[in-house]
Amino acid sequence: MNLGLSAEQQELVGSFTNLFAKSASSERVRAVEPSGFDPALWQTLVDTGAVQMAVPEAAGGWGASLEDLALVAERFGRVAAPAPLVDAQVAARLVAATESGPAANALARVLDGDEVVTLAVRTLRDREARLAPAGAVCNAMVAFDGENLLLTRVTDVDRTAVANLASAPLADVRVRDDAAVIASGPAAAARFERAIDEWLTLTASAVVGLAQTAHDLACSYAAERIAFGAPIGSFQGVAHPLADDATNLDGARLLAQKAAWALDADDARGRELAAMAFAFAVRAGEVATYNALHFHGGYGFMLEYDVQLFYRRVRGWSRVWGSAADASARAADARYGARVR
């Protein structure tokens, strides 16, 4: 048992903290709203190897563990970075796990940093991925139609970008008729579900990062803002919910890390823990960002204050897949076996 980060992991966290501090300030985040995509930040991430690191070494990547990716995802969430890093990492891992010509070509373009490949996190309906994460900026998308894993090119004729709560680069994307089948049958389903496990875990970490920043902003504000002759943080009506949020966010971080560790080890509880981590992080994050915004009073309601950036993204980044309750249902299926319907 060891809950500490290795020296390499501390270095990894430090370097991504610096990268995001330089390249994803809140001014930059605001400047690229509502598109939610900063090409300069994306280029920096690709140049640093942030996508390539997620791909196994055998497939030409750097072989980072999910545990490491979860650490990066939290730093990414801390600044509400306007780039689809988690989506691209998980899609690249999924593409790398399949063995087909089109997949190999797509992976080569990703590793060269030429293209953005994303994942349709919900099963397709009528060959359409609604609110696909990074759908508005991707060049290709991996999607599962219930039987086959498809790899489709995405251009502007295939998508309708959608203005949304989170200012995320979402789009309703149509899978092309010439999409390649890169896996089929039980293998396709297994790979897609594994990708969802990974996406849920990394998104949980990103949500923890988002909510932690909002919470930190609220704690600083509450320690300074005077009302009725005292700092509002000295009132238990403010202090106690913040204490609960601090606790829940610590728990959410630990659970996401445990899920990543379990998935790395192909532990039998990996799927259950990933879904639990997402459910818990989203619930904790929703409450923490609500409290953070609310305790700013009228200022929290103003666009000028940063706290709203995080409130909106906790919801938007997670709900493109589903709610906390949806994740709990997935965890229950993993823990108890699927329900007889």
Partner: protein, 385 residues
């Protein structure tokens, strides 16, 4: 990171489970529940024979357990509600004696605790002093060769079966709050000490103890005169790091077992959406409760003091237990009303009992409100109210 225990620690868990299977029989469990006293001499002595009462202390013939071993041992004993309250409070006080007590107290008391022969109960709370311990009014005034004690202590659990009470008293009558306090070890059979039963919602018996002109020799004083608060902090630090998640684990385990079995009409509760959702949320919070608890042990293992993380663990585990006991009794439905001990009860009435038991958890060892104050100050850096 590594979230798994090493094989040695897992082997210890296996040993503890085997020990419990032998010594914590269903009959004993029922007997303890019926009489409301979580103490059994034979069980505690058997624990002592394995050196599992204060396993981290040096003792001839035994290798002390490390933090991981202590964590897992306590987790297993607590999860099944084994009668360890009296030995746990004894150990807590033993640590204080070991840190600040006299040679006489160390030699006289510590070996008997380790062997399970003597137990010490806690005498901190009073009618007007609960989580706010510094409000104590029980007085000890100097007399020839010792001290005369007058006052009352609440929730002196196990005082009717224990040997000594760890008593916090005001030795300086003019003092306020944390100053002028001293800690004593008062033999419970001393003249002027009276124990009166108090019954609680969980079925557990506790006591109020009265001290009327009770004389105690100076050699039973633990702290320096006026140094009681500092010595108490040593004990409370221990209390905050006591495990709470095993109670939630117990609830989840029994509720899941109930849900997996067909009911009287052949329906399996686990197939019901509300039951499934209540169970998975409890299981998720259990996972978090265990991780927060694990973190306090890990921090101690690397030399950090979990000043905010201990309270976080206590707050989360106990609030989760309370919330899920409520939710699961609702999910079980009317049958959850059938009491523990009733022949018709579902899951032996353990879900009903968990609901009652959980009410105490968010109060003892510092209420949730006190934990939140500590977290707000130490973690959130908010000013004191």
């Amino acid at each position: 990171m590594d979230f798994a225990w090493d094989p040695e620690t897992e082997a210890l868990r296996h040993d503890v489970r085997a020990f419990l299977a032998e010594h914590f029989t269903h009959e004993l469990e029922e007997e303890l529940y019926v009489n409301g006293t979580s103490h059994d001499d034979a069980f505690v002595r058997a624990l002592g024979e394995r050196n599992w009462i204060a396993p981290e202390w040096p003792r001839d013939g035994f290798a002390p357990l490390g933090l991981a071993g202590v964590h897992v041992l306590t987790e297993e004993l607590t999860r099944v509600d084994a009668p360890i309250i009296a030995s746990a409070t004894s150990t807590m006080v033993g640590r204080v004696i070991s840190a600040v007590g006299s040679d006489f107290l160390r030699d006289e008391i510590l070996p008997t605790i380790v062997r399970g022969e003597k137990t010490i109960v806690l005498g901190m709370s009073e009618p007007e002093a609960g989580s706010d311990v510094a409000a104590v009014q029980t007085r000890a005034r100097p007399a020839e060769g010792g001290w005369v004690i007058d006052g009352q202590k609440m929730f002196t659990t196990n005082a009717h079966v224990g040997d000594y009470v760890f008593l916090l008293a005001r030795t300086d009558p003019d003092s306020q709050r944390h100053r002028g306090l001293t800690t004593f070890l008062v033999p419970l059979d001393a003249e002027g000490v009276e124990v009166q039963a108090v019954f609680t919602v969980s079925g557990e018996r506790t006591n109020i103890t009265f001290y009327t002109e009770a004389f105690v020799e100076d050699r039973w004083r633990i702290s320096d005169v006026g140094g009681g608060w500092q010595s108490l902090m040593l004990a409370l630090q221990d209390e905050h790091s006591a495990p709470f998640s095993p109670h939630l684990a117990n609830l989840v385990e029994h509720a899941e077992a109930w849900a997996a079995q067909p009911d009287a009409y052949g329906d399996v509760p686990l197939e019901r959406h509300d039951v499934r959702s209540a169970l998975i949320e409890a299981a998720t919070d259990l996972e978090v409760a265990q991780l927060l608890e694990l973190r306090t042990t890990w921090m101690e293992s690397v030399g950090d003091v979990p000043v905010a993380e201990g309270p976080m663990s206590k707050l989360f585990s106990t609030e989760a237990a309370r919330r899920h006991a409520e939710a699961l009794t609702a999910a079980v439905g009317p049958d959850a009303l059938r009491s523990r001990g009733d022949a018709t009860a579902v899951a032996e009435g353990r879900i009903e009992h968990a609901l009652r038991f959980s009410l105490g958890m968010t109060i003892y060892a510092g209420t949730s409100e006190v934990q939140r104050n500590i977290i707000a100050q130490r973690r959130c850096r908010l000013p004191r109210g």
